[in-house]
Amino acid sequence: MSLPRIVITGVGLTAPNGNSLAEYRGNLLSGVARISRTEIRYMGPLLAGVCNFDPLRYQKKKELRVGTRAGSIGIYCAREALADAGLSAEQLVKDRTGVFVGITEHGNVETENEIYAISKFGYDTKFWSHYHNPRTVANNPAGEISLSLGTTGPAYTIGAACAAGNMGLIHAAQLLRLGEVDFAVCGGVSESIHTFGIYAGFKSQNALAHHEDPNRASRPFDKARNGIVISEGGALYTLERFDDALRRGAKIYAEIAGYCVNSDASDYVLPNPTRQAECVRSALSRSGLRAQDIHIVSTHATATPMGDIQECEAIRSVFGEGCPETWINNTKSFIGHAMGAAGALELAGNLPSFNDLIVHPTINVDELDPQCALPGLVINQPRKVERVDTILNNSFGMLGINSTLIVRRFLG
C-alpha cells in the first residue's frame, strides 16, 4: 500500500534558550544553556527551564487570565509555526485543519493553584474558580489553539508522558495519511515547571538535578549527573501531505520517514532498554533504513543515573560499532527536560543540521560515564560532518511508552 508522503513545512517554538528556531539553534551551536533558579511553591528555589516569549504577541490580556500556561505556549508556537509556513490563520481551511498536541500531564498546575487559593479561605469550595474545568480538561492546550486559530477540525491532546512530543507529530502524520485532515499543527507543549507536584514527585524519587551553577545542572552522560531539570516550553510544526505542500510552493524542512510507538509493559517508571531498542529498530524498518543510514540520533536521556545507561544500552544494541556516520547528541543538556515538549523541541534543535551539516553537542560532560560512552557521541563542541540526510529522535516516558520518529532530508 502506498501512503502519502508527509512533510514538515513550518516550525514554531519556545525553549528556555530561544523563542524561534534561529535563536534556539544559534544557542545550541554556541553552547548556551539557559536554566534558572525559580521559586517553587512549598519547596523554595529550584532549577527550572523558563521560557520568556511574549504571550501578548498573539493573545489578549483577558485570554491570558482565563487560559492556561500550556495553552499560551501552544498558541505562541502554533502562530509562529503558521507564520513560518507562510500562512495566516485566515488562509487555513478551518474544518480540514487538525491540532494535535502532545502533553506529559495537564491540570496539575490549575488544580494546585485552586487548592492554594481556597486555602486562604479556610478551604471553602465556594471560592473555587468556575474556570477550573475548562482549564484542566485534558484537551485544554489544543482547544486553546483551535480557539485562537478559529480552526474547526479535530483538536486534542495526546497524553504520552515524556514521549508525547514525538507523538503529536506521529499522530498528525497518521491522520494526514488517512485523509482525516489536510493540514496539521502538531508537536508538544509543557507547563510543568508551574506545578510543585512534579518537582516533589521527582524529588521523592531522588531524580531532581542539583548543581551550584544552574546551567551546568542538566548533564546527560556525565559521570556526576544527578537527575532531571524540569522545563517548560513547546514546539509545534505544520505538517502537510507532500503534494499539497508542493502545490502551494511551501518551504520543506524535512520528510517524515517513519516512526514507531511501543510499550515496555514492565514497570511504572523504570525504562526498558529491550523495548526501547525494539522501538528504534521498528522505526528504522518502517522507514526502509538501516542503522548505518541514520546520521543523527537525538537521545531522550534525561540525566538520571540509570535512565541514561539504559538508553545507551538500547542505542548500542542497534547502532553498535558499524555506524561510522551516525552521530549522537542530547538537547536536554541545554534546556532541561521539557516534558511533553521535549521530543518536539529536540527534533527542532536538530532539523537545521540538514542545511548546515553541523551536529550540536551534548554539553556539561566533564567526565563521560564509561557506560554512556557511545561511539559517535558529540560532546561539548559542535561537530561539522559530511552528511546529514536522516535524524532519528527518541522520546520515552513513564508507564513505559517509547516513541521514535525518523525524518529525512527533503530530496524532492
Partner: protein, 87 residues
C-alpha cells in the same frame, strides 16, 4: 459605602477581569454586556470577586440586579452597609 463608592468597587473588579477594555466611557445606566465584551463566565468572575474581596454574596436569583453599574450600586450598597454594621 455610598452607591458611587460601590460602583467604583465593581469597576475595579471589571478592570481586572476585562483588562483589554477601555472602561473610561462606560455609561452607568446601560447594561454592561451591551457596552463591552462580557460573557457569562466573566459575569461569574464579578460575583466571585465580590465574594473574595468583600465577603459579599450575590445569589443566582439576583444576578440580573448586576446588569448596569447603577443597578450594581443600588443592589450592593445595602449589602456593603449590612457588612460594615456587622464588623
Amino acid at each position: 459605602m455610598t452607591q458611587d463608592e460601590v460602583k467604583k468597587v465593581v469597576l475595579d473588579i471589571i478592570a481586572d477581569i476585562a483588562p483589554d477594555e477601555d472602561l473610561s466611557q462606560l455609561k452607568s445606566d446601560v447594561r454592561l454586556r451591551d457596552q463591552m465584551q462580557l460573557d457569562s463566565m466573566d459575569f461569574l468572575d464579578i460575583v466571585m470577586e465580590l465574594r473574595k474581596r468583600h465577603g459579599i454574596e450575590v445569589p443566582e436569583a439576583d444576578y440580573l440586579k448586576l446588569a448596569t453599574l447603577d443597578s450594581c450600586g443600588e443592589y450592593l450598597a445595602p449589602k456593603f452597609a449590612a457588612l460594615s454594621s456587622k464588623s
